[in-house]
Symmetry: C2
Subunit: 349 residues, 2 copies
DNA sequence: CTGAAAGCGCTTACAG
DNA sequence: CTGAAAGCGCTTACAG
């Protein structure tokens, strides 16, 4: 593969001149140099450049599950910005494992200029070392305990939980359950808290067996829903903490032949491409996805511009939005009393 | 950040000795060196290493659409192998654009040890340059015209198209349409060809207006389905060439209030997580997904083992599988003649 | 086993 | 504007 020396020799100049030309500097023999570059198909060595400059022009993206459509969308957003800004994306999938995350981060520290991370848990300590190593770090979707010193792109998870609760309350439900995500995770914890707070605010205290925590995976959504259905007095409404758990919940409901929303209302967090096509079309708390990746990457790349480098941390918190479809309805006990439901809903909106 | 010299100084040895120790060589002062490494939190510079060795221990993964669940799964498979084998994954998303692919590949050539690519079209020429640059290349999902000289992990697309056709024929359909993917793409072309061949083999020649080509995106599935429905004599059965187009088709069918499978049978290519939960549960041609990423990465990493480096190209072709759910049924005209349908089906199985 | 030295391919002050 | 030279942080024959 041609080096800068080959180009220099061919163009009859020194390597320094070629380097200057490549970097956009004024050079007398620019045509000859360009010709040599073209003829040789020269492309600078990234390794040599970054050894010299200390910059890799690569960003690390670390997500818990790339097959979760939400994270796939976030990654798409991140990638689109890196490409536009002449950066590259080194992608790692931690499978929700803090241990893998530790390995990945330690490895990335020397290979990237910055990292965007959705940490496996809020308690992870390794991200702090990343900062010690002077590698800028931006959180996306999930925060760290004590993460206020870092940039972050999050959504108002508690607010989303509240919206879900108010929607169900508004329909007249009082036997309301939640299957939550990992409680050592920002979204898992905050969605549950916001949801429960809103219930309590309305005087509805869910019994412990209605308040179940899973791990954001489909299997846990399935299992927890099954256990709710086996209760002597099952809930009439269910809030599921993310897209995958909602799928699991819906499968359990189908398998047990539970009519949705007739016998059980279901509201999920995070929309799906197939949301409107499901049986029944899903009512969900929606939020921006690709945009979160875009914002996180922009936040990160700002740090490489001298004028922003020392800014105080920026914390972007996006709003969620209720998308009403057909998986939620008044409980059966109120089915004949639509008017009452409507007035109740008005109170809560 | 500590360098190998810092470690050497602290341990009272030469940098060469530290290097040897790090590479697993026998060293007398291994304890002192290890201590120095730990105390300094030393981690070798990837740039320096790869400048010296010419190896980056990084693999490029280039896909047309990371938010397509199929490719997300493939990427997951690729990533899992890189991590296990101490490689990293540089991810690029080309948005089905050959131009972006060209840029990405040119850029990657100097930054990775090998590339796994699902090319935007079969006619792309840049992948050939990658090979000229001595960067091993493996195709996944999509092949190149003249790609026989490269390793590849593909599925039997023509066979899958045939399975779909035989399934619909077996149900008694004769007015059968196909909305195909990009025809300058291996899966787009082969699925259509296999499908049409099987129809013709059964004496069913679809009119041109039943044979529509799209681009693998949801919007094209939607539009093409709409145009089929507007025909004076619409088909009674529809084969859709990939997961996203199937979603689009299903949305169009819903929007036009067309009963599936009552008035239109729908069979897709590629299953979805939500497949069983859709209205109606989708009949599809399924295939391995994560596994394709795993196989492609293994094939690629083999090339770095001297004993395999010069092997002839390996072409792995996986089988597809029909998953019967409820979106396909006999056409209405046969609804009362179940027995006839059954015998017909027997002939085709 | 060990260390001094050269070199991987760039970039960047420094003289001219 | 240009070129010679040093150096980024490693690795690897080469002597010892």
């Amino acid at each position: 593969m041609a080096t800068i020396h080959d180009v220099a020799a061919r163009a009859g100049v020194s390597p320094a001149t070629v380097s200057r030309f490549l970097r956009g500097g004024r050079v007398r023999s620019s045509e000859a140099v360009q010709a040599a570059v073209d003829e040789l198909g020269y492309w600078p060595s990234a390794a040599a450049r970054s050894l010299k400059s200390g910059r890799t022009h690569t960003i690390g993206g670390v997500v818990p599950d790339i097959t979760n459509p939400y994270f796939a969308a976030v990654v798409k957003g991140m990638e689109s910005v890196t490409r536009a800004e002449d950066y590259r994306l080194l992608l790692a999938n931690t499978d929700e494992s803090g241990e893998r995350e530790d390995h990945v981060l330690a490895d990335m520290i020397r290979r990237v200029d910055g990292i965007i991370l959705a940490p496996a848990t809020e308690q992870d300590r390794t991200p702090l070392h990343v900062r010690d190593a002077d590698v800028p770090l931006v959180f996306v979707d999930r925060d760290l305990a004590g993460g206020e010193r870092f940039d972050a792109v999050l959504v108002d998870n508690a607010g989303g939980g509240r919206q879900a609760a108010e929607h169900l309350l508004g329909l007249g439900h009082t036997r309301i359950a939640a299957i939550s995500g990992s409680q050592d995770t920002t979204p898992g914890r905050c969605r549950r808290e916001g949801f429960l707070d809103a219930l309590r605010g309305a005087g509805v205290e869910p019994p412990p067996e209605y308040d179940l925590a899973g791990d954001f995976r489909e299997a846990s959504g399935y299992q927890l829903t099954l256990s709710l259905l086996s209760l002597p007095e099952p809930p009439t409404a269910l809030f599921s903490a993310n897209n995958l758990m909602t799928l699991g919940a819906l499968k359990a409901l189908h398998d047990m032949r539970v009519d949705v929303p007739g016998r059980m209302s279901l509201i999920g967090f995070d929309d799906l491409d197939t949301g409107p096509l499901l049986r029944p079309p899903l009512t969900v708390i929606d939020r921006p996805m690709v945009e979160q990746g875009v914002l996180a990457m922009r936040l990160l790349l700002r740090k490489f511009e001298p004028e922003y480098a020392d800014d105080t941390p920026r914390r972007i918190v996006l709003d969620t939005e209720l998308v009403e479809r057909s998986s939620t309805a008044p409980p059966r006990s109120l089915a004949g009393r639509r008017a009452a439901t409507t007035s109740r809903r008005a109170r809560h909106s």
